[in-house]
Amino acid sequence: MSAQPDALLPFADAVATFDPVLGLEVHVELGTATKMFCGCPTGFGAPPNTQTCPTCLGLPGSLPVVNRVAVESAIRIGLALHSDIAPWCRFARKNYFYPDMPKNYQVSQYDEPIAVGGWLDVDVPTPDGPRRVRVEIERAHMEEDTGKTTHQGGETGRIHGADYSLVDYNRAGIPLIEIVTKPIEGTGASAPEVARAYVAELRALVRALGVSDAHMHQGSLRCDVNVSLRRGPDQPYGTRSETKNVNSLRSTERAVRYEIQRQAAVLAGGGRVVQETRHWHEDTGLTTPGRSKEQAEDYRYFPEPDLVPLAPSDEWVAQLRRTLPEMPAARRRRLQADWAVSDFEMQSIVNAGALDPIEATVADGADPAAARKWWLGELARVANERGVEVGELPIFPADVARVVALVESGALTDTLARRVVDGVLAGEGSPDDVVAARGLKVVDDDAALLAAIDEALAANAEVAEKIRGGKVQAAGVVVGAVMKATRGQADAARVRELLLARLGVSG
């Protein structure tokens, strides 16, 4: 890999001079129980090559059989994207040699995809709240995933310089849907945000459909980013680069930004952009060149003769249409109205990935404001620390709802509630388990509190005098001492009330 860093034009200059055009190809790994063309299980993380059979290993003589559930998922994605579902379509072989391809061809679809056309509206966050952009869809097609190669030894972990390579075919044959946009024009400086918002919306869509868990970091949703620049909207498209291996929403945004800056520097310097595949590097935030068009493979597509054409009947498509859930955008609008939050707050909720947990917490009886406070506050902070999404924290929305209820009933203070949540996150059980085990309970016996207040006053005689003398602000010191003595289990407001009454001072 070249060590020479790419020249970059400052982003503002780049988008002032050039008009970026985007194209996004998103691969969604379907969450079907079995693979695209065989009966092997698809679970993530099994020991290498344990989820294989003659078909997904491409053994001589083996044959594919189409997974009907995968086709249903593809059709439902197509319907949700407002695509036309092909009444007749075929699989095709994409021929190229690579060790992680068991057959040295991939069964895919070429000029006869299952879903054609369509669109997806995305809300692009701006300082003034979300702006709606319609992204036109070119097609969605079905294909099988390849195996996974890891290169052992050597310095780079790449194939060059490795001592040897290991191939795991567990992933080979897992069904993928590739969704390709039409060129996305007119985004200007917001191109990176549009790309990110599109991928996020598509992710929400496939999750709402229940067809994929769409975890980018596990590779079950992957994005290839095409970027080209032109001098202005009336100019023909420039030469594009295709950046692969973009594995997070943040990377999608960064990769687009990087390519705009890199290509702008090339063009501004009088150079020509090379049509090539580039690789995104999460760690460095750079793209590096892969295959150029001159080296590009001729995939020699032809109709897969081992499979018969697919002809989804009108009845079947209509039946699948009836299974479509509420679309994410409609759901967001509904929840925003229900919760009475601003556009800006809603944008924060969505960005934090907290929509599902908050909705579920509210469904479990919590007040929307309280639910939002937890998921966007304490829990967002912990998730950030742990580098996971809030939805992945080991706490159920029902637990959060229970904590909210305990606070509302006065059984817990905010401080205690945070300790309960800590306990749940630490795996100590449900909120009630944690309360019982840790003995977390508001001390609501006034006699006990008064005894603690007297002790604190005795230890802080000077402060007591000041308070009596009218310096009510000094009460905080005594309240603090009482809270400490009760291990935080007292209601601070009540302590203050009792303290002032004891000293004969009015608050």
């Binding site: 003659p54 290993l57 491409g58 053994l59 001589p60 003589g61 083996s62 044959l63 594919p64 059989v65 189409v66 072989r93 021929n95 040699f97 060790p99 068991p102 057959k103 040295n104 061809y105 194939i159 390579s165 191939v167 001729d298 020699r300 597509y301 032809f302 003769p305 081992d306 499979l307 018969v308």
Partner: protein
Amino acid sequence: MAQPADLTRLTAHDLATAVAAGEVSAVEVAQAHLDRISAVDEAVHAFLHVDTDGALAAARAVDAARAAGERLGPLAGVPLGLKDVLTMQGVPTTCGSRILEGWRPAYDATVTRRLKESGVVILGKTNMDEFAMGSSTEHSAYGPTHNPWDLERIPGGSGGGSAAAVAAFEAPLAIGTDTGGSIRQPAAVTGTVGVKPTYGGVSRYGLVALASSLDQAGPCARTVLDAALLHEVIGGHDPHDSTSIDAPVPPVVEAARRADVRGLRVGVVRELSGAGYQVGVQQRFDEAVALLEELGAEVVEVSCPHFTYALAAYYLILPSECSSNLARFDGIRYGLRAGDDGVRSVEEVMSTTRAAGFGDEAIRRIILGTYALSAGYYDAYYGSAQKVRTLITGDFRAAFEQADVLVSPTAPTTAFRLGEKLADPLAMYLNDVATIPANLAGIPGLSLPVGLAPEDGLPVGLQVMAPVLADDRLYRVGAALETALLDRWGRPLLEEAPSL
């Protein structure tokens, strides 16, 4: 009670009957054939691998089942040779290629599984042209098979091993596969019966693909009834093969027993005779057609004008599919690996392996197919060939409006000499000119012996073709002709072959 030495001369039907009746044990039958293989296969070379232990174990299981009073299948205890292009768990499967040397499949082909479940005793794997590419079995990486009628001549191909094994009495039955004539042409030149069923009639699961849209496994036998019995065992829908037809096996055994052509319209294909056909082949064919007429068939002439383009279309479609099907043989997962010296890259090891593992004919067709599918050439080559395929299917449809079955000589010549056409691929390809149209259209075809060519004393085959899923008509016509010819000759044609 038959003596073991005679067992190899019995038909599959008679053997199965004798085993079922307890007149002979399946082990005795298997041993007799294993002995015959030991005696003659050094000269014939029909087998690439003889599975002595497996065959005897399978035979013992049949005997045990009979002893336990279990109902036996119609071919239980009958020995069979399996073309080395079908997988059999744990038994070497080479497809006649160096590149698969040492590979022992982890699974049974559906055909293999059905044979085992029926109590058929698989003797071993039969020789073939590499990956079923050829018409002479000379393209086997393990040396050619010799025609039992004349060891200096070819046994046809690609399934020369299966046909020769049956003709040499090494097995009463064999499985072949037919992509452009690889069952029928070997049957014709060895004086045996071979059937290519309707495409989709027999599962391709476990059949190592040459051209997926053309390949079809089928029976090789010495009688039409034996072929029908085997057809019934291996045929029928298989959920592991998407292209397998979800319909019952046509009533082939019933048709073979009926052996009646009265009132049947037999169409002689004008384009499959005359120029290019050996005089003796044409003569025996014409006599057989006359015999059918005597038997009560109505003979008509039909024309299939697009057959002229069949060979050209076939040699675009086949190499295209084959170039992709054979891509998986790269030394990474199984079979031969060449050039893995720790220095070469994975791509270099793949290409070194392929260069070392594939023979000339395989490489020729891979290159042809890669070219035909390339960007810019696809429409002109693969695309046009598919259009021709549609036209040929249309020719058949029209012809089957005038006739219930079509007939032609199976191959234009009798068995040629080993080496005679090896240097001239085009001459070799012309052997399949009469058999290829049926593969392109997916229809069934049968070849049966109709005599010896006067000029060289070698067997001549007649081909019967029928519409999709009308495989039973092949057996009606085949059995009727077979019976009438046997009456005329007094003994089976194979009795005329020199003893080995």
